[in-house]
């Protein structure tokens, strides 16, 4: 069965809540897809108002055209695949537990927020708080894989517990802030103070950092089996990592400001 295709016909007149357009939600839905309410204001807006719909398998949804006004796509999804040609707004894939989202363009803030499983691939850039929790939530990402082809904003991986975030470009300030597990790999350069207040977990920055907190302790360069395993895992996930082909990296331990036992790997030199 071919994919369910939603082709963008016009720019959305308001921010749209696309959380209903997942395999899980559509399986439980009744009525026509075109009639699904996606408004975020008091002005009515349905799927059919901005998309032309070609019916198909809801486990494979294709958006021909995106917008930074498309919020909440893939929220809470547990199965299926969503492919987007274009950009997405905030909270893409928030709380997803399974399935996969592929976005050719960029995404807004809180993409993959609280993600527990599945895979999100972002061809462009990611906004701030990638994988991070909302205020008041105990943890951010607890599983799954997020891959960003471009750069990520501030505080990517905030309060991360498990899973993998791989950033192809640069990362903003406070990469992996408050993280207590999981793995973050930044192939570009990380902004100021990566690992800020982290207690557990691993951050690898292949091209160095703008500034490092003095509360991280240099334990020297090491050739570790763990780096080999991470490198292999990245390869299995289809993530090719420049400096990760080197298994000898300089290890910083911290953040000792919170008696943390996390680690930050930088190039040896």
């Amino acid at each position: 069965m071919s994919a369910l295709v939603l082709t963008l016909q016009q720019e959305p007149p308001q921010r749209c809540d696309l959380s209903a357009l997942t395999a899980d939600r559509l399986a439980a839905a009744t009525g026509r897809i075109e009639a699904i309410d996606i408004r975020t204001t008091r002005t009515p807006l349905a799927v059919g108002d901005i998309f032309s719909v070609t019916s198909g398998d809801a486990a494979d949804i294709v958006f021909e055209g995106g917008s930074e006004r498309f919020d909440n796509l893939g929220v809470g999804m547990s199965t299926g695949r969503i492919r987007v040609t274009g950009d997405l707004g905030q909270r893409a894939g928030r709380g997803m537990a399974g399935g996969a989202i592929f976005v050719s363009g960029s995404v807004g803030v809180l993409a993959g927020s609280g993600m527990a499983g599945g895979r999100m691939e972002i061809g462009g850039d990611a906004g701030d708080l990638l994988g991070a929790p909302l205020p008041g939530e105990a943890s951010g990402m607890t599983g799954g894989v997020i891959r960003v082809g471009g750069s990520a904003g501030a505080r990517a991986g905030d309060r991360m517990r498990r899973g993998l975030i791989a950033i192809g470009g640069d990362a903003g300030e406070y990469l992996g802030s408050r993280m207590f597990g999981g793995t973050i790999v930044c192939l570009g350069r990380a902004g100021p103070l990566p690992g800020y207040l982290m207690t557990r977990g691993t951050i690898i920055t292949a091209s160095g950092v703008d500034s490092l907190s003095p509360t991280f302790i240099d334990t020297g360069p090491h050739e570790l089996v763990a780096l080999r395993l991470i490198s292999r895992w990245l390869t299995e996930e289809g993530i090719e990592g420049g400096a990760l082909s080197a298994t000898r990296l300089r290890r910083f331990a911290g953040d000792t400001a919170v008696l943390g036992k996390g680690e930050l790997f930088l190039p040896e030199a």
Partner: protein
């Protein structure tokens, strides 16, 4: 069924009797094959028989870097025991004393198995709070700080309840030299088979045993029927031309693996032949009443 004669070697019309066991497999890697092998040899030392060693263990095969999780040279080790609890205990003890201690090593699961038993999860506390858990995909590893860096160990490994222990061949030759040469040829052939080990020294045991003893404290004693120096003094199983006997014991992860090992060993012995000094090949059994698995030599030879 009459005795078979192949290349002048008499194949006894008998069968090997083997038992169900619990087993696990682990992969030990190191910077070089030398050190991976050193850890494996140390770990499988004093693991010839469950009678007194707690387990039977041996090296299954050498793994190329492309076959191991950390892309370093590796050795696959198989460990067999009579119960899950004994297997766990032996695995933890040997891992902690022989692999953890060996320079540069790491340890990984060597099989999927029906159940999982603790590997790194059992010795992570050696890290005294500095151990690090890494969940990479679906696999959890433990990283334990040690003096040469880190000891990395997968959290669990597989356990099979379908393992078989005690497949065997009794190799009877003209003299010690020719019998040992025949046994070595059989060991080489069996070593090439996957999922089997021969737990005795070099794969060969010269002190085959029978159940029981005239001494109450001993559960087993020398297999006098196969001792050439007792011919005529006991109900000997040996004919006049047999001057020496060696045994190969085979443990395997499956019935089929043991069967394949027996076949490879028998084949090698037949190739060795009578001219080189091999007289007969037999097998040990207990009348077929104790062991669940029977391996008739004639049927296996085909």
């Amino acid at each position: 069924m009459p005795e078979l004669i192949r290349n002048g070697v008499t194949i006894d019309n008998t069968f090997a009797e083997a038992f169900g066991m619990r087993a696990t497999a682990i992969v030990i890697t190191a910077d070089t094959e030398k050190w991976a092998r050193q850890a494996a040899v140390t770990m499988t030392g004093f693991a010839t028989s469950v009678i007194a060693c707690g387990c039977e263990a041996g090296i299954d095969r050498v793994l190329e870097p492309s076959e191991t999780p950390d892309a370093r040279p590796g050795i696959r080790v198989l460990i067999f025991a009579v119960s899950t609890s004994m297997l766990e205990q032996q695995l933890m003890t040997r891992l902690g004393q022989c692999v953890l201690t060996c320079p540069g090593t790491a340890c990984f699961s060597g099989m999927q198995g029906e159940e999982r038993i603790k590997l790194g999860a059992a010795i992570r506390y050696f890290g005294d709070g500095w151990q690090i858990s890494k969940l990479l995909g679906a696999t959890r590893y433990w990283r334990i700080p040690v003096m040469d860096g880190e000891f990395v160990c997968e959290e669990t490994t597989g356990l099979t309840k379908s393992a078989v222990g005690g497949g065997n061949l009794l190799i009877m030759g003209r003299d010690r030299e020719s019998t040992l040469a025949a046994a070595e040829a059989a060991v080489a052939a069996i070593s090439a088979e996957p999922d089997v080990i021969m737990p005795f020294p070099g794969g060969i045991v010269r002190s085959g045993s029978k159940i029981g003893s005239k001494y109450k404290a001993l559960p087993a004693s020398t297999n006098d029927a196969y001792c050439p120096t007792l011919k005529g003094r006991v109900a000997s199983a040996l004919t006049a031309e047999v001057g020496s006997v060696l045994e190969i014991v085979i443990d395997g992860l499956t019935d089929a693996a043991v069967r394949a090992g027996m076949k490879a060993g028998l084949g090698a012995l037949c190739v060795f032949g009578a001219k080189a000094g091999l007289v007969r090949v037999g097998a040990g059994n207990y009348g077929g009443k104790l062991g669940k698995f029977h391996y008739p030599l004639g049927e296996i030879l085909g």
